[in-house]
Amino acid sequence: MEPNDTTGHELSRRTTLTAAGAALGLTGIAGCIGGGGGAEFSPISEELTAWHAMGGTNGDTLDSIAADFEAESGIEANMEFKDSYENVLTDTLSAFDSGSVADMFQVDSLFAQQVFDTGNVRPVAEILPDDFDTDVYLDNVAEFFTVDGELASLPFNNSNAIMYINRDAFEEAGLDPDDPPSTIEEVRSASETLVDEGVTQFGITWPNHVWFVETWYGFEGELMTDGENGHAGDPTTFYTPDPVYDLFDWWKGMNDDDLYTNPGIEAWGEATTLFIEEEVGMLLTSTASVAGLIADSEGFTVDAAPYPGISDTRVGPVIGGASFYVPDGLSEERYEEIGQLLQYMSEPEVQTEWHKGSGYYPITQPSVDSLREEGWFEENPNFGVALDQLQSGDASDPATKRALLGPAREVQTVIQDKSVDIIGADDIDSEVESMKSEVESVLEGYYE
């Protein structure tokens, strides 16, 4: 049959079907799907490679740490920026499949469980040189990253959520900047004053990120899930005790009365911008922002203050930030080199350099000690708020251990999306329950 083709749509039905059949037939090729677990890996390059998600100046600081390491040890190291924590994970996953892996990769604490479950990582306690004392890590930090008694990954950039206030705005509104709000009720009344006095458009904002909800749970001493937040068993139940309802009541009220503004999902930059532009008088965000905030807030003075709790209960904050994991299955010689790099990154001088350059707090006791000695925290009190908050927290309370969930990212998204629904609903009770059941079905899907 002679094809009377001019444009595609005039082709006969028969040729269309034939084509479809051919296409499908040709693609019926059996393929092997990559699986995980217990394999042998080879490094992707001669030099030690670390995949990380630190962009901008923090990335520069990492690069200089690598350069210093090279100078000192003679071992070449390369810090590869991978755009986001998620991307590091994606690439690592593909790397496991393909067999060539980076020597270390930076994983957000949120994803810790997923990485464990691959069975493809080797605890750093086994890689660090024998003379390395893993007790140097601050308790609270070490607690989270210790699995089955040994340090699983190298904590590196860790942070808490804290509150920043605009001193000048407080003074202008007649509030005392040296006595910042310490509970959400006080935040509300401070916001009302700020807005009523016409000093700022809104009272407070924070990025809509699950970390803040987790921090509220932590300070209240409330577990988010059973299994001690996933550290002692598979989590299957999501807890929503009364304080949580109080939290969402407050949040909704703030939103309804325009005392709070929603900057967007995980909108770190936008929330910070709102504070710098003095649209809000208070900001909840990471301590890692402290250097940047002070630099960018040219027109006013910034103060860091402890995170406001739901009530007067103050158990402790949850750890944020990331750590470096090392894949299993490399050669022993390779592990020696990696161990040296890991050790180097934990040295007090390096930790201090990292802290001063980034705002993430120093996580080894020697580093903290040396900073105190040189009077760093006196001169820069804002840098110390998070550390104080951390160290005065009760590290033994399971509620202060950040939840270790398999499907963490999905749970995170559910909570974030549902939060918006909750504060927009007329009746928060049913929405909170719906959030609970959604989270539980996600957990069930993973752990079944």
């Binding site: 084509a19 630190m54 901008g56 920026f81 710098i276 990471s286 890692a288 922002s289 250097a291 980034s358």
Partner: protein, 302 residues
Amino acid sequence: MTELLQQAKRRYESARETDEDADESEATGTFGGVNLNVIHPQLWLLAGLIVFPIFVTVIVSTKETGIVTSLPDLLPGTYALENYREAVVDYGFGRFMWNSLLMSVVIVVGKLTISVFAAMAIVYYRVPYKDVVFLFILFTLLLPVPVRFVPLYQLINDLGWNNSMLAITVPYLASATTVFILRQHFLSIPTSIVETAKLDGVGPVKFMIQVLVPMSKSVLVGVSVIMFVYAWNQYLWPLIIIESEANQVTQVGLQLLQGDVQGGNLSWSLVMAGSVLTLLPPLALMILFRKPLLETFTIQQK
């Protein structure tokens, strides 16, 4: 073409008959208020709206931190030189642009060549299965990157191409739209020329070089621009498959400029500076070659 024209003439006749304001329109040149004096302002407004975002981008790239929250903020800053220098020197943007350029050029040349081959086979060869093949090629429009991404990564790794120029060029070499457009164009080359070539006993190679290419110059330029823009703007795939910064392309490099947002680095202005740099090559090509672009995209009226 003639049937359509006749249809059109008939329609316009009926339009004219039912047009009550016929006489009035002629006098004032208006209908529904659309007259020449109104066209320019309308175009200004609409085109202005569309151009506004690039204006914002450029302005932000000239500022120190680049926070613009209201119209008055849109005055140019004085940090342009600083930001662009930082992007190029500190972040190695020059190298990224070079990699992108290399990648895009290879893709354009490669895609053009094999698509010309394919279109020529489909139009000028009498073989029974060619419609099937054409559909086979067109079908690929429905196979987006996120679907094939993970298996593709494994495949490239197995071939040992990861982190190489091969990985970011070869998978892009097949193009359904290019083959489609070229086919459309070849079908519009007058049959008289084709028949003359046949009578002269011209072989396929000669035919392609001496007939097809000269007759398709502007179309070839037009699709090349389209392909360049497409290749240049690729983000997801290079992000995954290129492991070393030295080999990375601009789109991914842009992310590097963004900094650690959780760590409080606000660098909108730097990102916008990088964005402007990234935008320049494809934009320049589109402006330079807009005439061939327009000529390329004449869908044959059959």
